[in-house]
């Protein structure tokens, strides 16, 4: 709301402008700017949506008057007496949109330029002068906040005003001379034949006031906020009028503004009133009565304001004390303050005028212990691993293009979740995986010249739950995902995944079947071949969590990106991704792992040279070795794998298994070690058909 100081001074004696704007700022009217406007000064104040009373100079003047304890001068409005019947008929067919409509007729006006003072004041607040009649309607709106409209009566068919819903596709040319197609949800002011204004938003070109206009129909009405807003937004046709109706002007100003404008028209453009005002409907006004307890302000603010001072503030704001009780009083809110209807609203009024500077800023708060949630701790731990591994945390958009989602997700959710409007152009699918987004970030960053594109992100995916898993809760599940992307092969990705999981205390187990060997912690993870459109065939794994007492579940995937994903995002195919569901791993941060005392006895290292069929996996071999339940088996490492059809035979490979043996109680002898290794070889022979390499 831009205020002209010259204009504002008509209603209240003004303090110096800087002092005034500072005080208004601390009472709820943000000061945007103060600028010279000719000989006048324009002050721009931000008005919150609950204060339509401040969308006119009088409302601002009232605040100044209250804050600086000065009298408020309301302009006197005197209309010559009229007699007879109203010369037009007003009918409201859409009462939900327009509760009240009034029309006043002024005949014989001389439309022409406005006087200088009027032109100057409007110019100061950024409104161009049109002609004296239109300027007056704008002036009165900017004075009291009630929008008005003036029609050329001679162009209205049938001397009548009908407020009705538009007929779908009904054409309408607004005063900006653009044509609009209306919908049947919009409401129009019509004459006997056609729409002449879009209710509360804008008048029509055909009935606008011109130099040729002699008879004026002056509209002052009340329109409901939502339909006005819908129409203005639907047609992208916001106006100072719709802006005010969306917020709800003072109901009492409907009648006042009509008389004020009519008086000014008669004064500045000549003409005479023709008959009394024509009206239809009932003014919607909700005069609230509110009881304020005298101790309530202190209870809310934490500082007392004298009861007499509270009452003085409310009275100066226009509240009327209907009844004074022992330690409370009953107040009627002024018509222009429809935001005030509860006790807490009165408390805020007192606080706002008294100023929040009176509220103490050194009240102690009792200490309270706090714990980080398992989620917070899990996120910290995994992020720390990523940072230590040289990865930078990225943040990508939660909503992606459909083409990203076409690659499916390891986390299910077939039906897409689509938002309207799109988050940014082309991106309207809530993502089910972060992989394409993070890959896109890597590609973009590398293309821009970044020295590396090793990125990780921790964010939610969004998945529609299966119907049977909804439990009356939200149909949408939001797995918390950790995703990493880097250049490298499958093993590079698996190394990252293993490091993150190990930090959480989850060790890799060779196979799902070996649950019995999960160890004291009772959980572990297993990598298994995985097929997904996101990942390269044969170069990807799912990570399955095994946990005592719970069904196994997929908690991660790792793999080289698929050629089609690489192509879609223009990514180097030598790129590997890891995605983990860390929401499924939170349980582990509350488990204290059992400590293992270090043995002080030396270890014995042995290499076992096995020859196995090509189809036997490393995991199978590990499982076979572990099946011996050898207490002294401290570690199993892969020595090497090599193939030589001549020496090993077709379809065979040599696997060197390096085992470290150590006893907690004694130094193992070579004979003991030999026996343990022999048992392992035997297990490998019986379980995976291994033979010792000669």
């Amino acid at each position: 709301m831009i205020v002209s100081l010259d204009w504002l001074g008509e209603y209240v004696d003004l303090p110096p402008v800087a002092e005034m704007t500072e005080r208004l700022l601390l009472a709820g009217l943000n000061h945007e700017s103060t600028e010279a406007a000719g000989s006048d000064t324009a002050v721009d104040l931000e008005v919150t949506s609950n204060r339509p009373d401040c969308l006119g100079h009088i409302g601002i003047a009232r605040e100044v008057a209250v804050l600086f304890d000065r009298p408020l001068r309301m302009p006197a409005v005197e209309l010559p007496p009229v007699s007879g019947d109203a010369p037009v008929r007003v009918t409201i067919e859409a009462g939900d949109i327009c509760p009240f409509y009034s029309a006043r007729v002024i005949r014989g006006v001389a439309v022409g330029p406005s006087p200088d003072w009027l032109v100057r004041r409007l110019a100061a607040v950024g409104v161009a002068s049109v002609n004296n009649v239109v300027d007056i309607t704008n002036y009165v709106m900017l004075e009291c906040g009630q929008p008005l409209h003036a029609f050329d009566l001679s162009r209205l068919a049938g001397n009548q005003i009908v407020v009705r819903r538009a007929v779908a596709e009904e054409p309408f040319v607004a005063i900006n001379h653009k044509q609009y197609a209306l919908t049947d949800e919009m409401s129009v002011i019509a004459d006997a034949e056609r729409p002449v204004a879009l209710a509360g938003v804008m008048g029509g070109a055909e009935t606008e006031i011109t130099e040729a206009t002699a008879d004026v129909l002056l509209e002052s009405a009340q329109f409901a906020p939502l339909p006005v807003r819908a129409a203005a937004r639907g047609l992208v046709l916001g106006s100072p009028s719709s802006y005010r109706f969306e917020r709800g002007p003072d109901p009492a100003a409907v009648e006042w503004a009509s008389r004020r404008a009519a008086a000014l028209i008669v004064e500045l453009a000549g003409g005479r009133l023709d008959g009394p005002v024509a009206e239809a409907g009932q003014l919607a006004s909700r005069p609230a009565e509110i009881i304020l307890r005298s101790n309530r302000v202190e209870t809310v603010l934490g500082v007392a304001v004298a009861w007499d001072r509270q009452r003085e503030i409310l009275r100066s704001l226009g509240f009327v004390e209907r009844e004074a009780m022992a330690d409370a009083s009953r107040w009627a809110a002024p018509t222009w303050r429809r935001d005030c209807w509860r006790e807490i609203d009165l408390v805020e009024e007192v606080a706002r005028i008294e100023g929040y500077d009176c509220v103490p800023e050194n009240v102690p708060l009792a200490a309270q212990p706090v714990q980080r949630s398992p989620r917070e701790r899990t996120v910290r731990m995994v992020a720390d691993v990523c940072v230590a591994a040289g990865f930078c945390e990225a943040m990508t958009r939660s909503v992606v293009a459909e083409s990203f989602e076409a690659f499916d997700s390891p986390w299910g959710g077939v039906a897409p979740l689509v938002c309207r409007p799109p988050l940014v152009r082309g991106a309207d699918h809530l993502r089910r995986t972060l992989i394409p987004s993070l890959l896109e970030a890597r590609v973009g960053s590398l293309a821009a010249g970044a020295p590396h594109g090793d990125l990780f992100e921790i964010a939610h995916g969004y998945i529609i739950r299966p119907e049977d898993a909804q439990d009356g809760g939200s149909p949408v599940e939001e797995p918390l995902l950790l995703t990493l992307v880097t250049g490298g092969d499958f093993f590079c990705g698996k190394g990252l995944a293993t490091a993150v999981l190990a930090r959480l205390g989850l060790q890799e187990r060779p196979t799902i079947e070996s649950g019995a060997t999960m160890g004291p912690a009772g959980h572990g993870v297993c990598f298994q071949p995985f097929v997904s459109p996101l990942l390269a065939p044969g170069r990807a794994a799912e990570i399955v969590l095994q946990r005592s007492g719970f069904p196994t579940c997929r908690i991660g995937v790792v793999g080289e990106i698929s050629p089609s994903l690489g192509q879609c995002l223009n990514a180097d195919e030598h790129t590997v991704v890891v995605e983990l569901r860390i929401d499924c791993l939170e349980f582990i941060v509350d488990e204290e792992p059992a400590r293992v005392a270090l043995s002080s006895f030396p270890a014995i290292q042995r290499d076992i040279n096995l020859v196995v069929d090509e189809a036997v996996s490393w995991g199978d071999i590990v499982a076979a070795v572990e099946s011996t339940r050898c207490r002294e088996l401290e570690a199993i490492r892969l020595g090497e794998i090599w193939r030589d059809a001549d020496r090993l035979g077709q379809g065979k490979k040599s696997v060197v298994v390096s085992v470290r043996l150590r006893s907690p109680e004694t130094t193992l002898s070579a004979e003991q070690a030999n026996a343990l290794v022999a048992a392992m070889v035997e297990a490998c022979t019986s379980r995976v058909g291994a033979t010792l390499r000669a």
Binding site: N50, V300, G302, I344, E348, V359
Partner: protein
């Protein structure tokens, strides 16, 4: 056999040790090293061997002491030899070690970084943690009850306009869901689940259809605090925010309230903090509206509370001097690597 006095034996040992030390620290090549080995450690007639022969001539009662001394020196000489060998193998020459160009780059070790917004969130959460606030999270896809109604935003409120929210039609839900427009939704969820007293901060991503520019992005992060305890006043709110601002900015920072309007707080205020002699906007706050307390089943005559919200991007941009918040979402490591949290998290 003549008896060799222990003193003489010891002196001989020390001489041997000293000489071996001189020679073995000075040898510069394999030939010299081999020569030194034969001289001192030679199995037949090396100096050590020679001295060892003397051990036999020491009086019987001195033998244990002499033996200990001999073993110690023998070990020491062997170590000197091993050191010399290692040095020569490594190509270094004694007294003339080749100096390295210390300005050459070290072996690279790259560390990553957490995102500057995460750094900011962690810092805010840590400070609020000192004040007894616990971090809570909730869903980003919300229903209209939690995003609007429970927050005193009725159906006809403009904030619910389809153009101002990201609505999501889901077949299984009776009415459209939406990407939450504020993290206050989580506060409602916590209040529905728990009884006062409560001190929580909810944080996470929120979504509003703003056109992206230097100060707006349709997805951003909020941190919102909520305290519900009997007897809570705006003085508590101001004091907590002052503590927060002082901890965040350092020093004794004052805050001020300007009246504002939010549907879910009453009174509502904008909070400014004084920074470098200027008031800068920190966020919105207020006393929890009685209607909100009632919506979650609390009695507004028994408990009261305050809430405040901070825009993470805005305070991060200010804290780090980032002019365009879109940079936070470009994910270029050259940008991300510039943010060191300097141990403040």
């Amino acid at each position: 056999m003549t008896n060799l006095p222990l003193d003489a034996f010891t002196a001989e040992l020390q001489r041997l040790h000293a000489e071996a030390g001189q020679v073995l620290t000075a040898v510069a090549d394999d030939t010299a090293l081999e020569l030194a080995r034969v001289t001192f450690l030679g199995a037949k007639s090396g100096r050590i061997r020679q001295v060892q022969k003397g051990l036999g001539q020491v009086a019987k009662e001195d033998k244990p002491a002499a033996g200990r001394q001999f073993n110690a020196v023998k070990t020491a000489v062997e170590e000197l030899f091993a050191d010399a060998q290692q040095r020569i193998d490594a190509g270094a020459s004694p007294g003339a070690v080749e100096a390295v160009d210390v300005s050459l780059p070290g072996t690279p070790l790259r560390l990553g970084r957490v995102h500057p917004l995460t750094q900011t969130i962690r810092r805010v959460a840590a400070i609020m943690g000192y004040l007894g606030f616990e971090v809570v999270e909730g869903p980003e896809v919300e229903d209209q009850w939690h995003n609007f109604e429970a927050l005193a935003i009725p159906a006809e409120h403009p904030a619910r306009d389809p153009l101002d929210n990201f609505y999501i039609s889901v077949a299984q839900a009776a009415e459209p869901l939406l990407l939450r427009s504020q993290t206050s939704t989580v506060q409602i969820r916590v209040m529905e689940q728990r009884e006062p007293p409560l001190r929580i901060v909810s944080l996470g991503r929120v979504y509003r259809p703003d056109t992206a520019d230097a100060t707006h992005y349709p997805m951003f992060h909020q941190v919102e605090g909520l305290l519900i305890e009997p007897g809570t006043t705006m003085a508590h709110l101001k004091s907590v925010l002052r503590s927060f601002a002082s901890s965040f900015l350092g020093g004794d920072v004052h805050v001020r309230f300007r009246p504002s309007f939010f549907p879910f707080t009453e009174p509502s205020v904008e909070v400014d903090m004084e920074w470098n002699g200027r008031w800068i906007e920190m966020g919105g706050a207020g006393m929890v509206d009685p209607a909100v307390l009632e919506a979650v089943g609390y009695d507004p005559d028994v408990v009261s509370g305050f809430a405040f919200g901070l825009g993470v991007e805005r305070i991060a941009a200010r804290r780090f001097g980032v002019a365009d918040i879109r940079d936070f979402y470009r994910n270029d490591v050259r940008f991300l690597e510039q943010f060191s949290d300097r141990g403040q998290v």
